[in-house]
Subunit: 257 residues, 2 copies
DNA sequence: CGGTATGTTCGACCATGCTGAACAGCGGTC
DNA sequence: GACCGCTGTTCAGCATGGTCGAACATACCG
């Protein structure tokens, strides 16, 4: 581990978590480093375009270079490229919002967002992250990971976001077992009150889950007795098709129908 | 300048420019570094989530952490936050695509994209970059920068993207003078054949241009004799309103009407 | 099976990164 | 206007962390 690169990354992480800008002294305090150390790292990051300084206040913020990298990440994402058309078709077919996500540490991050056709004002959620355990997208991926990785994730704190969020490893394991058995994860108001999600994992050529695709929307609409099976089937079929596009082995990871 | 942080940033830059994934040997060659050096940097970046390795091929690619930072950059952008509603209104009023951009090195980067209402399939361009001199968004910002910064930008190569791209410092200075005089930059098929742009700068509380807002679309529609003055006025008015929202001094930077 | 090219590991060396101390500038208070 | 507190910035000495040559392990190809 190269210490100074790790420190620079932690600075970027701090600048990216909540406060739009931070001062040298504040960053030094948060990271437990000397001010000249932080200052030197910031200057280098600034020269690279990853950070910029507000001249008037002296405070630092993320720079446009990170957006450029984020965009490049999306452009290079094979999962996203291969999902987009099928996600659009799914959104049209089901008349629901469709998201594609990947696991990033203990969260699932949206890499593609297909709007519900005909809806009014919607906010693009690409780049947004949700704790994996509180979302169908996240549960769908983790359910198919190797045991060691699942254990690792379950050993970390499982934060409650609503009153319905499952936060004990036992309860989350149950949800994962169900997702594994059915091939589809269902989440009912664990991330947001009123919202639910249904998602299925997507596998790559090696048979490993690399992401998931799912619908998100009002729980009373998605989890209606007649809707849920239909939505689940459509999501699973789309996930399988994307997996095939990515070269996944037949039934690789997925439950046979 | 901290060398190892700079090297790490250059690795990210290489991974973000074209090829979706690169090997250690290829990166070492491009950067003129030893393979163990690159390997160590990649390992650290991987632990930070900014890079990930394809286990099957051994190659490295940008990781989800960069998308998270890109998203955080957008979330923290005051220019973007204060532009969004006015950009939407402008797109509705003019029935055109509206972009908001910021200068990033020698390019202008789209930080907000408002779709043309009613259009069919559109690609979100947030994060996309265009050479500043070949776009109205870029010219609108640079026209109001201090002379020293303008000179610096003009001393760099001015690449041609179409047959109409102005590439000599003299020609670009003329375009900048016109943008300065009128308060609005107009670009006719310099970035893309068939497309034009009309943009105005946005100023912050210190009176410095921090971005621009403009319309982009087919040249024959935007630059029609009756359209152009109407679009220019609406874009300029919107830019002024956003500048006021950002606390810019009255007529700060903008030309008085 | 041999050759080639890759990613990875190891350890010695020295160049770089780190930090305490000090300074410059700014805003607030009296 | 002087003083104080706090910030970002600079400097130089020192210790450590980063670099890289050499070697190795692995995979692929003919």
């Amino acid at each position: 581990m190269i210490q100074s690169v790790d420190r620079a990354a932690r600075i970027l992480h701090e600048l990216g978590s909540g406060s739009p800008s931070l001062g040298v002294t504040e960053l030094a305090s948060r990271l437990g480093l000397a001010k000249p150390t932080v200052h030197g790292l910031l200057r280098t990051l600034e020269q690279c375009g990853l950070v910029s300084q507000d001249i008037a206040t002296g405070r630092y913020a993320l720079g446009p270079g990170v957006l450029q990298l984020g965009n490049a990440y999306l452009a290079g994402s094979e999962l996203r490229a291969r999902s987009m058309l099928r996600a659009r078709a799914l959104a049209g077919q089901l008349d629901e919002v469709v998201w594609v996500g990947v696991l990033a540490e203990a969260e699932v991050m949206v890499v593609h967002h297909e709007f519900r056709p005909g809806d009014g004002v919607q906010i693009l959620e690409v780049g947004a992250t949700i704790p994996w355990h509180a979302s169908a997208l996240g549960q769908a991926i983790v359910a198919f990971l190797p045991d060691g990785e699942v254990d690792g994730l379950l050993s970390r704190p499982l934060r409650a976001l609503t009153g319905r969020t499952r936060t004990t490893p036992e309860a989350v394991r149950k949800a994962l077992a169900s997702a594994f058995d059915k091939g589809v994860a269902v989440e009912n108001q664990e991330a947001n009150v009123g919202d639910a999600g249904i998602a299925a994992p997507v596998f790559d050529h090696s048979g490993r889950p690399v992401g998931s695709i799912g619908v998100v929307g009002p729980a009373d609409r998605l989890l209606q007795r007649q809707s849920k099976p239909r939505l689940s089937r459509a999501v699973l079929d789309t996930a399988r098709a994307i997996s095939r596009d990515l070269g996944a082995p037949s039934h690789g990871g997925h439950r046979p129908s």
